[in-house]
């Protein structure tokens, strides 16, 4: 796009700084960003699982706050959300979880807009994005992803995120281009969630060539680009980073392990070990995909 040069200068059109923790996560080589639904299948188990992901090399962790109508999710993550809701997960418990979980990487909350819109802190009658973001910031959340909130409807949430220093991550679909892409890129902060293919979330054995085209469209912007939807192996992670992604987002392939653990009645420690191993495979794959080795302390 001819006039995009100016937008490429800064992450946000108004020049506001992104959350520094999230920005730092991309400084040190490609970022591995795993997702799990909080409370799947229980509070304690998912705490162990999220900690295992951090040990396995996560740079940022997306924590799903479960909503009853997850229209952007495929069957795997729908299953996780049903298990978490049946296990009693609520927004307030979610924030307690964020305060409680022992990891030192930035945490991003992924949820649907109605839970943000309806959120009311305990003992208050006030509802809405401002209350939700204030509580999220207090609990230690660094950013938000809201799959059913397009940029056009995002201004109240964007303002609350600015107020409390949170990043607001938008999803760029293979169908996003032209003016929409421009307006989204002007509102995004932290990283762009590049949707690798059309459809809902879910592990796939092939990596879509739509990914390459999307990364190409986004190459003019210097916001980190994290690719998600369908990544399930270290090899795929490697290939996507080699195509120019700054990070990879993996949800369903990890949730599959949690689901297998529930079905096969594995102990929490056993499931956590498998999650850690899978995380390591994905993180190492992403690192291999890097064409120019980044300076590393490890």
């Amino acid at each position: 796009m001819a006039d995009s040069g100016q937008a490429a200068e800064t992450r946000r059109s108004d020049g506001a700084a992104a959350n520094s923790e999230i920005a730092a996560a991309f400084d040190d080589g490609p970022a591995f960003i795993p997702y799990l639904a909080v409370g799947d299948p229980s509070y304690e188990a998912s705490k162990a699982y999220v900690e295992a992901l951090a040990r396995g090399g996560a740079d940022v962790i997306e924590l799903g706050l479960p909503f009853s109508e997850p229209i952007a999710e495929g069957p795997t993550i729908q299953g996780a959300i049903v298990r978490a809701l049946e296990g009693g997960m609520t927004p307030e418990l979610f924030f307690e979880f964020v305060e409680d979980v022992d990891v030192d990487v930035p945490l991003v909350c992924m949820t649907y807009y109605n839970l943000i819109y309806q959120y009311s802190p305990p003992g208050s009658d006030e509802r809405g994005p401002e209350q939700f973001v204030a509580r999220a910031a207090e609990a230690g959340i660094s950013g938000l992803v809201v799959p059913d909130l397009p940029a056009e409807e995002a201004d109240p949430l964007r303002a609350a995120c600015d107020e409390h220093g949170l990043d607001l991550v938008f999803i760029v679909a293979p169908t996003t281009e032209g003016e929409r892409l421009q307006s989204m890129m002007e509102r995004v902060s932290g990283y762009v969630y590049v949707q690798a293919r059309l459809g809902t979330t879910g592990a796939k054995s092939d990596v879509s060539d739509q990914t390459d085209r999307s990364l190409q469209r986004l190459s003019e912007w210097n916001v980190p680009k994290a690719v998600g939807f369908g990544i399930s192996s270290g090899e795929q992670a490697e290939r996507i980073v080699a195509s120019g992604a700054d990070g990879i987002i993996v949800g369903s392939a990890l949730v599959d392990i949690v689901a297998d653990g529930v079905d096969s009645e594995w102990s929490t420690a056993e499931t956590a070990d498998k999650l850690e191993a899978k995380a390591r495979e994905l993180a190492e794959g992403a690192t291999r995909g890097q064409t120019e080795p980044a300076p590393s302390d490890e």
């Binding site: 909503f67 009853s68 109508e69 997850p70 229209i71 952007a72 999710e73 495929g74 729908q78 049903v82 809701l85 609520t90 927004p91 649907y112 807009y113 109605n114 839970l115 819109y117 309806q118 959120y119 009311s120 799959p147 059913d148 909130l149 397009p150 056009e152 409807e153 938008f170 999803i171 760029v172 679909a173 293979p174 169908t175 996003t176 281009e177 929409r180 989204m184 949707q195 059309l198 459809g199 809902t200």
Partner: protein, 426 residues
């Protein structure tokens, strides 16, 4: 055929060109769907609002030839005597397919053709929208997949057969309680993957803009005819228009051309289910009365009134009629209720069955269980009625015979015939 239809949308009182009705409405959908929603908005404005390429002319011709429009407005003599007012019935049950649903399904499938799409998907609750879409898709030679909750498939076998006979693929949805809410979510997931070639024929005035205004405009033919017919027969406008309301498509279709006539009472009859109380613990609202009892929230692409718990999780709704069994309602109806232009009334399962039997045994018309709620309202609120009351008979009850007999058997419905001879089923 009327020739002034190109102005219909402009005449509509709550036009919502920006997709907002007050604070309600909007476009809360995953990013992948936004280009399709924008493409559809553009097509809606060109073809539906501005009649480009004669779209609305073709639509109306097909509604007449294939659908059998206009449907009659009939005076219900025995009900008029019973309630001491002039009751008129708008006979949408006589539209092809047995319900008002064809107006919208035919309009959207035709629009999809004009847009160059080559596949149709739709959700269905009672199966009425699914059968209407399957008929329209067969008529216009479009491949069609219908998503239907597993529980609804079991409640509405005959409609499943009809969809299959018309050549549609019926996919069961097993998530949640397997009703309309889950079927809509699942259809949106299909659309997110197939959006470039596929049009999603949504079945009510719900979802992201432009669906609420577009579906209303396709159904507005109901109140357009009603207005002319009631004038011809009574010399004036009705005192009240009564329609059942789930998502609200027959409701807005029946109200659209009367919204500006402040003297015409508009009554939206919701499913009161077994109770208006809510079980927060179980996440169940044993009703579908989102206009009467719901709170503002965001579901399936729009901000509207919803049945939800204090955290914002969507409740499982309930109604004896699957077509009303939905936790949300169209944003335009929610707005008109807030503006005190539309009066919402909840009618419970028992009263709906009473209405079902009343219309069946006094007028010789077996209504759909959805429609029966409007007649339950007449039965329970007779003392509030006066003058000319038009009731929208949104659908016929053939699909509901099994359920109506079972539900009647299980309750004490004062005006029901003895059905014990059918206790083995039909």
């Amino acid at each position: 055929m009327s020739t002034d239809h190109a102005t219909d949308a402009e005449d509509s009182p709550t036009k919502a060109a920006d997709g907002k009705f007050g604070d309600y409405g909007g476009q809360y959908v995953p990013e992948a769907l936004m280009p399709a929603i924008q493409e559809l908005t553009d097509a809606y404005e060109r073809y539906v609002v501005n009649n480009e390429d004669g779209f609305m002319d073709e639509f109306r011709q097909r509604l007449a030839d294939f659908g059998g429009r206009p449907t009659p407005l009939q005076r219900a003599d025995r009900l008029s005597e019973r309630y001491d007012c002039d009751v008129y019935l708008k006979r949408e049950d006589l539209l092809h397919g047995g319900a008002h649903k064809l107006n919208n399904a035919l309009g959207q499938v035709l629009l999809a053709k004009y847009m160059g799409k080559d596949r149709i998907i739709a959700e269905t609750g009672a199966g009425q929208h699914g059968t209407a879409t399957a008929m329209a898709a067969a008529h216009l030679d479009m491949p069609c997949t219908i998503y239907m909750g597993e529980r609804d498939i079991n409640r509405q076998r005959p409609n499943v057969f009809r969809m299959k006979l018309n050549g549609s693929d019926v996919k069961p949805v097993t998530a949640g309680r397997g009703t309309l809410k889950e079927a809509i979510s699942e259809t949106m997931r299909d659309w997110a993957a197939s959006v470039e070639t596929t049009h999603y024929v949504i079945g009510s005035i719900v979802g992201p803009h432009p669906f609420p205004v577009m579906v209303r405009d396709f159904h507005a033919v109901i109140s357009e005819e009603m207005r002319t017919q009631v004038r011809e027969q009574t010399g004036g406008l009705p005192d009240s228009v009564v329609a059942c309301a789930g998502g609200g498509s027959n409701t807005m279709g029946a109200f659209a051309h009367f919204v500006d006539d402040e003297d015409v009472n508009l009554v939206a009859v919701e499913a009161g289910g077994s109770s208006l109380a809510v079980d927060e613990e179980k996440g169940v609202a044993p009703n579908s009365a989102s206009l009467s009892t719901g709170d503002e929230g965001v579901l399936h692409g729009a901000r509207t009134k919803l049945l939800q718990d204090s955290f914002g999780q969507i409740m499982e709704s309930h109604s004896i009629s699957s077509g009303l069994d939905y936790a949300g309602v169209g944003p335009e109806l929610a707005h008109l209720v807030d503006e005190d232009r539309v009066t919402p009334v909840a009618i419970d399962d028992d009263a709906a069955l009473e209405g079902f039997h009343r219309l069946s045994n006094t007028e010789g018309i077996i209504p759909a269980l959805e429609t029966a709620h409007a007649f339950g309202y007449l039965e329970e609120h007779a003392e509030e009625l006066s003058g000319t009351v038009v009731v929208n008979v949104s659908g016929r009850g053939d699909k509901d015979l099994q359920a109506a007999i079972e539900e009647t058997e299980a309750r004490d419905i004062p005006n029901a015939p003895d059905m014990s001879m059918f206790s083995e089923g039909i």
